[in-house]
């Protein structure tokens, strides 16, 4: 195991975060606050409560999830795409590091960043509404698992993308819509039955539901199912990464 390499890549990526602090941390916080003002204050004033939780507080887990998913994917995909784009990837490929070590360092750095971000958003939200966390252990578990899983997904996208458009495409066309339609801002029990069934095909539903349960004991699906689905995605993405590295897909000619 080349621990020095893992540390070098991890530090490199975290240094990039520090350099782009404004972009990495401040802008998601601002946009989340805006969501909060619009959804929480403007719309929330018309929706009194969801299952006994004020609407403003109800959307907090969904908001965090939204940032967690988009930022994990964005961070990790950019982290590996950029060296491909500039050509500095030659050094990574010529180094005595295993693919697992490469993936672990990039995904680790991206996940760290989005977990920090999630916690910052949580703190920000705490300024607007009273928040309680019923199951802190589960809350952290979902936070970490989701961050890691979607950083892996981002890593895959970063390897797959061969131009900047593709890099933006997946977050824009898949992650954001699925998150908005995945019960971030509503409980799926509010939907008509047909839509409720369709929504269950949306993987984000399970992530948001489990995460919200760890806050308010409210869930659209059982928390065990949420956990199972998260682990399933994690395993799926791990398998894809393993395949990418075995074949050298888009990395080696």
């Amino acid at each position: 195991m080349n621990l020095f390499a893992i540390r070098a890549i991890y530090r490199f990526e975290m240094a990039r975060t520090r350099r782009t602090l404004l972009q990495s941390i401040v802008s998601p916080v601002i946009s989340t606050s805006l969501y909060f003002v619009v959804f929480g204050a403007a719309i929330g004033s018309r929706i009194a409560e969801v299952d006994g939780v004020s609407y403003g507080a109800f959307i907090v887990p969904g908001l965090i999830m939204l940032s967690l998913l988009t930022q994990s994917v964005a961070n990790a995909s950019f982290g590996i795409y950029f060296p491909k784009f500039t050509g500095t990837i030659y050094e990574l490929l010529s180094a005595p590091v295993s693919y697992l070590e490469i993936a672990a360092s990039y995904v680790g750095a991206a996940a760290t960043k989005s977990i920090l971000l999630g916690l910052i958003i949580l703190a920000t939200a705490g300024l607007f509404v009273p928040i309680r966390v019923a199951h802190p252990f589960w809350m952290i578990l979902f936070l970490v698992l989701t961050a890691v899983t979607f950083s892996l997904f981002g890593f895959i996208i970063g390897i797959w993308a061969d131009n900047f458009e593709k890099l933006q495409l997946v977050p824009l066309l898949i992650i954001t819509p699925l998150t908005f339609l995945g019960g971030s801002f509503y409980s799926i029990s509010m939907l008509p039955p047909v839509w409720r069934t369709i929504t269950l095909f949306n993987p984000v539903v399970y992530l948001v539901s489990g995460f919200r349960w760890s806050f308010y004991d409210l869930a659209d699906v059982h928390v065990g199912v949420s956990l199972g689905m998260t682990v399933l995605f994690l395993a799926l993405f791990l398998m894809i990464v393993a395949w990418i590295f075995r074949t050298g897909y888009r990395l080696k000619t």
Partner: protein, 308 residues
């Protein structure tokens, strides 16, 4: 083990179907400076990229200090430093951060004293806190060398180290390469500048269209293939070469004042003595004479012509 790198039967066909390497066999000796010489597109970068792990081989095997580059990639790669052809760097990093990164990436414990020495040797020490994007092209090239040396490799690949580099920097580069060799590093450089190979290398390999056409000691190569020319400055101009001297295939300069004789210096008899005697008999007097030796460039052209 004398050979530090051993390439056997190495072929590469790119996804496009283009075959860039055709069953290459090549041994690099420990401690030597080896120049891989060939025109653009010959396959130099492809060969280096395979040895360093950046490109997958289609066929064949490479051993680096006895370690297979695929099965035992960690051991093989940790011995190698690579300076790529293109100036690819992380623009926003500092010089110090990027060399520290490279050292860590290659699995070495941090050693600021060593890195300081490397940067000083490459005249980059006063730039250590500068961002890379503020460096000049020459400095970036040296930075890439510093990165490649950061993990104390035994083998250094320099892919066209002096392409587009000014004369002074080229001299510095050559000096650096020699000092690295003195420190025990094996150096493989690619170039399409023949004078560079001639100046630097202990051995030269010529590659053309994915095939190694020839590998030879530089001196041996010069001896074997070198043609020599002897030019005689005549006392009085000649109108034409006397028929009796036809056998020597002499060239007469347009003003008739110089005669040039081309001979193979590997030949047992160069024919010089006989020529001088015959000139004497024909009463052609000369006031001066000098000889020149063909450069690698001429040899190279000859070789490629033969290979066709």
């Amino acid at each position: 083990m004398q050979n530090i790198i051993s390439v056997s039967g190495l072929s590469k066909t790119y996804a496009s179907g283009f075959q860039a390497l055709k069953s290459v066999h090549l041994d690099i000796r420990r401690g030597e400076i080896f120049a891989l010489l060939g025109p653009n597109g010959a396959g130099k970068t492809t060969l280096i990229s395979i040895i360093c792990g950046i490109v997958n081989a289609s066929e064949g095997e490479v051993l680096v200090d006895g370690h297979d580059i695929v099965r035992d990639y960690r051991a093989a790669r940790s011995k190698i430093g690579l300076v790529p052809q293109e100036l690819t760097t992380d623009a926003f990093e500092s010089v110090w951060a990027t060399v520290s990164f490279s050292r860590g990436l290659f699995g070495r414990r941090a050693d600021p004293a060593y890195l300081e020495k490397v940067l000083r040797d490459l005249s980059l020490w006063d730039k250590k806190d500068s961002r890379i994007l503020t460096l000049s092209g020459g400095m970036k090239r040296r930075l890439l060398i510093a990165k490649a040396l950061s993990h104390e490799p035994q083998i250094l690949f320099l892919d066209e180290p002096t392409a587009g580099v000014d004369v002074n920097l080229r001299r510095d580069m050559w000096q650096l390469v020699r000092s690295l060799q003195a420190a025990g590093v094996t150096i493989i450089l690619t170039t399409h500048y023949i004078d560079e190979a001639e100046e630097m290398a202990d051995r030269i390999g010529v590659i053309s269209r994915g095939e190694i056409v020839l590998v030879e000691e530089k001196s041996e190569l010069m001896r074997k293939l070198g043609k020599k020319q002897m030019t005689l400055q005549l006392q009085s101009p000649l109108e034409r070469i006397p028929p009796g001297l036809d056998a020597y295939r002499l060239d007469l300069s347009s003003d008739g004042s110089e005669l040039t004789y081309t001979y193979d210096k590997q030949a047992e008899r160069t024919g010089i003595i006989a020529l001088l005697r015959d000139l004497n008999d024909a009463e052609i007097a000369f006031k001066d004479l000098h000889t020149t030796q063909s450069s690698l460039e001429d040899i190279f052209v000859t070789l490629l012509k033969d290979a066709k």
